[in-house]
């Protein structure tokens, strides 16, 4: 009897310790493995760095519960397919692919690994295990336009743009609307540098804008080169993707900051609780999650190098966009050839924004291509 009891208890102890071991291993000891694929280096002070900051927020939020692997400088092509597959093979449960060009590679690998979740940033194709996310960058552009309109003395704004894709054109148009809402005389010149990241070319473009008389510059490219030139030449400018104030303490008016952290944390939490889904967002391409100021995916840095009343006006515009009270692309919208896009009382829906291939009033020239 005693013997039996001892056996029973030792068995109980053993099995419970095994059970305990299993439980801890599954739920605490085994962190969720998360992979990130980056286009450039994580210190680029632009697009990739914004994602890196999001990744760091993930690490801070989850601590030991996640194990994050990031891969830098992955070109958009066959290499990315291999890298994404490698991350999936190494047991990552959710993989964030953070550039538009990873769309096909992500879907290719997603088909091979139906149990792994994929989050493709800025893409428009979705499937059972591929969700998409994007930011309403244009909301920040509108505020930039307002500030630029109030700050410019020459009424010429220099815009340095990367590639003529809808996302960039949308930003230019939002900027123009903001600009014209406060200053009907100002206009925007656009220089397309056809690169996301070539500091010398961006700097040259900035110098040309300044030589041509622009006194407020903005950019849709990745390096801080433009702001450095603005700082040197005594004109003003806006930062992009991350806060670039360190490069231009006297020239930066504010930066639009891509804040991916909350989105990443939300999606990883969904995964951990078994509730991950691709959402029931609209079927047009804007993504399951197209967040802006309201959802905190877009934030702006401190207003500076501007008079108080300008800062207050900018803050007011910011608050109105954030609360959803103010619609940026509300009619009447007229393109720069004088053609009416939509009449008063209507506004462009998200789908129409992604088809934008024209400039609105206030922008000089034509969209190339």
């Amino acid at each position: 009897m005693i013997k039996f009891c001892m056996r029973f208890f030792s068995l109980m102890a053993l099995s419970s310790s095994v059970l305990f071991f299993l439980i801890t291993n599954t739920f605490a000891g085994n962190p969720t493995k998360v992979g990130f694929v980056y286009l450039h280096t994580k210190e680029d002070f632009g697009w990739t760095m914004a994602h890196e900051m999001g990744r760091q927020m993930v690490e801070k939020h989850f601590g030991k519960d996640v194990k994050v692997t990031e891969v830098n400088n992955v070109p958009e092509g066959p290499d990315s397919t291999r890298v994404i597959r490698e991350l999936a093979k190494q047991g990552n449960e959710i993989i964030f692919t953070t550039s538009f060009g990873y769309m096909e590679p992500t879907h290719k690998v997603a088909k091979e690994f139906p149990n792994v979740k994929f989050e493709h940033i800025t893409g428009y194709k979705r499937s059972k295990n591929v969700a998409t996310g994007n930011i309403r960058f244009y909301e920040g552009r509108y505020i930039q336009g307002v500030v630029a309109g109030l700050m410019t003395k020459t009424n010429k704004i220099g815009y340095i743009a990367s590639f003529p894709i809808s996302e960039v054109v949308m930003g230019i148009n939002a900027f123009a609307l903001g600009l014209r809402s406060v200053n009907k005389d100002a206009s925007i010149s656009v220089i397309w540098v056809n690169t996301w990241k070539d500091s010398v070319k961006e700097a040259d473009a900035a110098k040309v804008h300044i030589a041509e008389g622009s006194d407020v510059l903005t950019q849709h490219t990745d390096t801080p080169a433009m702001l450095q030139i603005a700082e040197k030449s005594g004109v003003l400018g806006f930062g992009q993707a991350t806060d670039m104030v360190a490069f231009a303490p006297n020239a930066q008016l504010f930066s639009s900051i891509n804040n991916w952290g909350p989105y990443y944390i939300k999606k990883i939490e969904q995964l951990r609780s078994g509730k991950w889904n691709t959402g029931d967002g609209p079927k047009h391409w804007a993504g399951n999650e197209w967040g802006g100021l309201k959802s905190g995916m877009l934030t702006i840095s401190k207003f500076q190098n501007m008079p108080n009343d300008v800062a207050q006006k900018a803050q007011k515009v910011h608050d109105e966009i954030k609360s959803g009270k103010f619609k940026i692309f509300a009619g009447p919208l007229i393109d720069n050839k004088g053609k009416e896009i939509i009449p008063a009382g209507k506004s462009l829906d998200d789908g129409a924004l992604w088809g934008m291939n024209y400039y609105l009033m206030g922008v000089n020239g034509n969209v190339p291509g």
Partner: protein, 310 residues
């Protein structure tokens, strides 16, 4: 009228700034080629100069140290190249390409901790009174040290190649290394010096990018300028002062396509961006057509390894 001139002045200043790295690197390569060595590693040497200069300024604070560091790093890369092509007689084209690939890797690795930092730029030096001349004063007499230096180098090597004895020896070595050797000139030593001088100039040219154009470091930030420098040497048909013209034309086209866009000229930006490359091919064709009639400008031993039977 006044406004147009001010715009012109600002644009010319931009063109000059864009041209200086090309000018320096091409000048160095000219001397290298005159000695009979074809160094395709200019891009690599410029990158090394850029990263070296950036690191030095970040460390020591004074942009002038960047010039020295850039020159040193460029010359160091050139001496690696020299060991292989002069002492080990390896193929110059392949070794030069190897040098660029090697330097791209090395600078990427060494520069990784430098990304995201910024440095003070080279100050402009105003030449007393002259810099106050309207319009041209600002352009000619208010430049930074490297800009003046590059003009000084051009003047110096024009004199050096034409009138000085070492310059004539250098040309002799480049034109016919066997006979130069039989007269008793130290062919290998002279090529070593010429290649290292080329590296030094390319290094300073590369250094100019972080020191004056955009004060930060990015991987491969020279963006193909080393290759254009190579083209410039041919474009100038190995005559130093023509490099100035060539560099300004290149810089001019680069800037012109940006100006064209900002003014809304309806030409696709990619086609405008092609212009400098097409212009080089065009210039090469014209020059080469003339060269085939008068072949004396091209160093005849260019690219051929020298074996001295020691």
């Amino acid at each position: 009228m006044g406004w147009g001139l001010i715009v012109m002045e600002a644009l010319i200043l931009t063109i000059i700034a864009t041209s200086i790295p090309l000018l320096l690197a091409a000048t160095g390569e000219l001397i290298t080629e005159k000695s009979g060595v074809l160094n395709l590693g200019v891009e690599g040497m410029m990158l090394s100069g850029a990263v070296g200069a950036f690191a030095a300024v970040l460390w020591l604070g004074n942009p002038y140290y960047g010039i020295i560091a850039g020159a040193f790093c460029g010359a160091l890369m050139a001496s690696i190249f020299s060991i292989f092509i002069i002492n080990f007689m390896t193929n110059q084209v392949a070794t030069g390409l190897g040098l660029t690939i090697f330097a791209t890797g090395l600078t990427g690795l060494a520069g990784a901790p430098l990304i995201g930092k910024t440095i003070p730029s080279l100050p402009k030096i105003e030449i007393f009174l002259l810099s106050d001349i309207p319009y041209i004063g600002e352009i000619l007499f208010k430049q930074d040290f490297i800009a003046y230096l590059s003009i000084a180098i051009i003047i110096f090597i024009t004199y050096f190649l034409k009138y000085s004895k070492p310059g004539i020896v250098l040309r002799a070595v480049g034109d016919n290394h066997q006979s130069a050797h039989s007269v008793g000139y130290p062919v290998k030593k002279i090529r070593w010096y010429a290649t290292c001088f080329g590296g030094l100039c390319a290094g300073v040219g590369g250094a100019y990018i972080p020191l004056a154009l955009t004060p930060h470091w990015a991987e491969e930030m020279t963006g193909g300028r080393g290759w254009i420098a190579l083209a410039l040497v041919v474009f100038a048909s190995w005559i130093p002062w023509r490099i100035i013209i060539g560099a300004l034309i290149f810089g001019g086209i680069t800037i012109a396509q940006l100006v064209g866009q900002s003014r809304g000229w309806p030409i696709p930006s990619q086609l405008l961006s092609m212009m400098p490359y097409l212009a080089t091919i065009f210039a090469l064709t014209i020059i080469s057509g003339r060269l085939s009639k008068n072949n004396s400008v091209v160093p005849s031993s260019l690219g051929k390894p020298f074996f001295d039977n020691q």
